[in-house]
Amino acid sequence: MIEFKNVSKRYTTNQAINDLNLTIPTGDFFVLVGPSGSGKTTTLKMLNRLIEPTDGNIYFNDKRIIDYDLKQLRLQMGYVLQNIALFPNLTIQENIAIQAESLGWPRKERIERARALLKQVDLDPDKYATRMPSELSGGEQQRVGIIRALAIKPKVVLMDEPFSALDPISRKQLQDLVLRLHKELSMTFVFVTHDMHEALRLGQHIAVMRLGHIQQVGTSQDIMEHPANDFVRGFFETEQAVQPETIQRLLDHGYGTATAAAPSLSTTSTVSELAAALKTTSAAVVATESGSRELSTADLLDYLAMKEVD
């Protein structure tokens, strides 16, 4: 169990965390969510003492974390970074086993552990173990980033916006992955995100933060059905308002060419479904009221670029 008791963090110019009280049950999937500047990352980094609080105490299993040996504390808390941060000079298996190496595990055991973990996240060890990080895609890299945090079986895994730099498809796959890992591993996961959707999808408990204060803590159902205040409601509503875009939007903008081929998508299919389809074929066919139309990867890219400009 992790407890924050009256924790504050002041910087010379601003107050990052103000009198924070929070309990994270053992084995929970706990999500800290909030806009930027809400103090969620600061809260996370105070757990492995990358940041020290100015006031108050944090307890880990009823012992103040400042009373732990720093190295011992950190070895019990796996850490996944937003920028993945695989060491570019080390191979994938060396990256995974870096903490094991610092604990003096024999080389053979380190390699075995790294290979087992790779298998667990569906990366073929024979193919990936001895590659360099730069040879992997972003999604693959973050898989390695996650299992690196699990390598020495920590009690807690801290994840700091781990998927914010990934494309929507990889993000969804990795969300499924962490949910599965959490189920398999009986560890406490503490997860930071600014994406309410992600928070609702992952968290057993969610803490909504704003300007260094906790706004509400509860299950996703609590928060959706009984928002504590206007801020939580607003944050949640913007989340609801953002409907996934459909292919109709592309067609409205005049993309696509007429074709006689059999359609595989409908106008209500989402843009991410189109993107997924385009991964396997060069052009996806959509059924519309005025016949089938063909959308290519170039059409999708043009559309996204145009949206970016808006």
Partner: protein, 506 residues
């Protein structure tokens, strides 16, 4: 080109030896610099202010001209290899420190955070993550330092540490382009080869680089240690300035001393450097004896004796007593030859107009087209004073570079040139020097210079070296210089031949 081939053929062994010296000097300096700079950068990587101060200091050291740095070091650590290495290390520290520091401090902060959050020890973080990531920068710093060192190491020749600089300096001093090219091309080649070697090192893993560096340290250290133990105990070091003439003289000193006193060992250091370097080296005790000219003593070494007398004996006496009172140095008796300015004409020109002395020129002054060294043309002791003393007015007088001067008279572009009395070209081009019958040129006589302390400790040196007093005429010296510079014979052989043929050595 032919000259270069000839030199390579006759002096190949010496050149290889110089390359060895150059490599040794450069590698030792580079290693020491790396051993200082890299740990220093590691120590300071988390202390920004101290690191900035250090960067400032190393940059300032870098701006000291290399010659000045060598000059500063001589009174402190003497001459030879040690000050050269110190100077080279001082130069090489900055690029290595700067690059290592930059490499270590520009690592992605996310990687630093990851390493910290994983609870890696300081040591593991450094050796497993930070140093390997900074390695390309460190290697490029070492590469820059290496090019700098190989280039600057050519100056080591100035203070007797040898190396390829010997050929460059000798080439400049004696106007021998072949030597200059050999020295310059070889040092450029060395820089290229070592640059490639360092690039190759940079592609190896961190561990392998460490092993190779450690091996190099052991090898070089062992070699230096072996040299130190194996080198015979030397009691007397005789050095000489740049060029063939001092080299011949110091070999004569060596032969005479070792012949008369079998228990003394003499080490010669030829082409040791310029006048002030040698004089400082003598003062600091790094060398024991070197041949110096009476005129030079008055002109540049002792204070308050600028107006040199034109009488050789008087010049010597004044120089001797000034050296004794001002520096407590002993100046033994001079040899016969004069190495001063003279005027030379071709044999045919001299025969045609019956020219023997400078006064004889008055009769033909309207036909004289002279080519003078720029210094000679301007100095009071040169052409201006000469024309006044002898009341001469030449039809024309041009200034030209010393080396072109002799070619100009051979090609008939001019018919009178100035020169040094012992220049080998006088023999090579069959020129005739005109007697300075009014004793206008200040006398430059060579004599052995040493500290009084040495002479008190070894009074037996005086009679030995005085065997040369009044010997070696100007013609003798010209001939010997000719054999060494033009015919590329060894100075030691030429010196011994002279001593034997004049009964000074059995």
């Amino acid at each position: 080109m032919q000259d270069i081939l000839h030199i390579l053929k006759t002096q190949g062994g010496d050149i290889v030896h110089s390359i060895g010296q150059h490599i040794g000097l450069s590698l030792i300096s580079l290693l020491i610099a790396a051993l200082i700079a890299i740990p220093l950068a590691i120590l300071l990587m988390n202390h920004k202010r101290s690191a900035n101060i250090m960067l400032q200091i190393t940059s300032i050291l870098q701006t000291i001209p290399s010659l000045a740095l060598l000059g500063i070091l001589i009174p402190i650590v003497g001459i030879g290899t040690v000050p050269s290495i110190i100077a080279l290390v001082i130069y090489a520290v900055m690029p290595i420190f700067q690059n290592t520091y930059a490499g270590l401090t520009t690592i992605d902060p996310n990687l630093e955070e990851a390493a910290t959050a994983f609870g890696l020890s300081r040591r593991m973080k450094l050796f497993r993550i930070e140093l390997p990531l900074a390695l390309p920068m460190i290697i490029s710093g070492i590469r820059i330092a290496m090019v700098l060192i190989i280039g600057t190491a050519t100056l080591a020749a100035l203070i007797g540490a040898g190396g390829l600089g010997t050929y460059i300096l000798l080439g400049i001093e004696t106007n021998n382009n072949a030597l200059l090219i050999i020295g310059a091309v070889l040092s450029a080649l060395l820089a290229l080869i070592f640059g490639a070697a360092i690039d190759w090192l940079g592609r190896l893993s961190f561990k392998k680089v460490g092993i190779i560096l450690a091996t190099l340290v052991v090898l070089i250290g062992g070699f230096a240690g072996y040299r130190k133990i194996a080198s015979p105990e030397t009691t007397i070091t005789v050095a000489g300035k740049m060029g063939s003439e001092p080299e011949i003289l110091i070999n004569m000193y060596k032969d005479l001393i070792e012949h008369d006193h079998p228990r003394m060992k003499v080490a010669t250091k030829a082409n040791f450097g310029g006048t002030s370097f040698l004089f400082k080296a003598l003062k600091s005790g790094s060398i024991d004896i070197y041949p110096e000219f009476t005129g030079t003593v008055l002109e540049s070494l002792v204070k308050g004796q600028k107006s040199a007398s034109h009488d050789p004996t008087k010049t010597y006496q004044v120089a001797k007593s000034a050296l004794k009172s001002q520096y407590r140095m002993a100046y033994l008796k001079p040899m016969a030859y004069q190495n001063g300015y003279d005027l030379a004409v071709t044999k045919s020109f001299a025969a045609k107009y019956h020219l023997k002395t400078i006064s004889d020129l008055t009769a033909v002054e309207g036909k004289i087209h002279a080519g003078f060294d720029p210094d000679f043309y301007q100095l009071k002791d040169g052409y201006p004073g000469l024309s006044k003393t002898y009341n001469l007015k030449f039809a024309s007088a041009k200034t030209m570079e010393p080396s072109i001067r002799y070619k100009a008279i051979v090609n008939g572009k001019v018919n009178l040139v100035d020169g040094y009395t012992t220049d080998p070209e006088i023999q090579e081009y069959h020129l005739v020097t005109l007697k300075d019958d009014k004793r206008f040129f200040p006398p430059y006589q060579g004599a052995p210079l040493m500290t009084e302390k040495l002479l008190t400790a070894h009074p037996e040196l005086r009679p030995t070296l005085n065997k040369l007093a009044g010997k070696v005429t100007t013609t003798d010296m010209q001939k010997m210089n000719y054999r060494v510079t033009v015919k590329h014979e060894k100075a030691a052989t030429v010196a011994r031949d002279y001593l034997k043929s004049h009964g000074l050595l059995d």
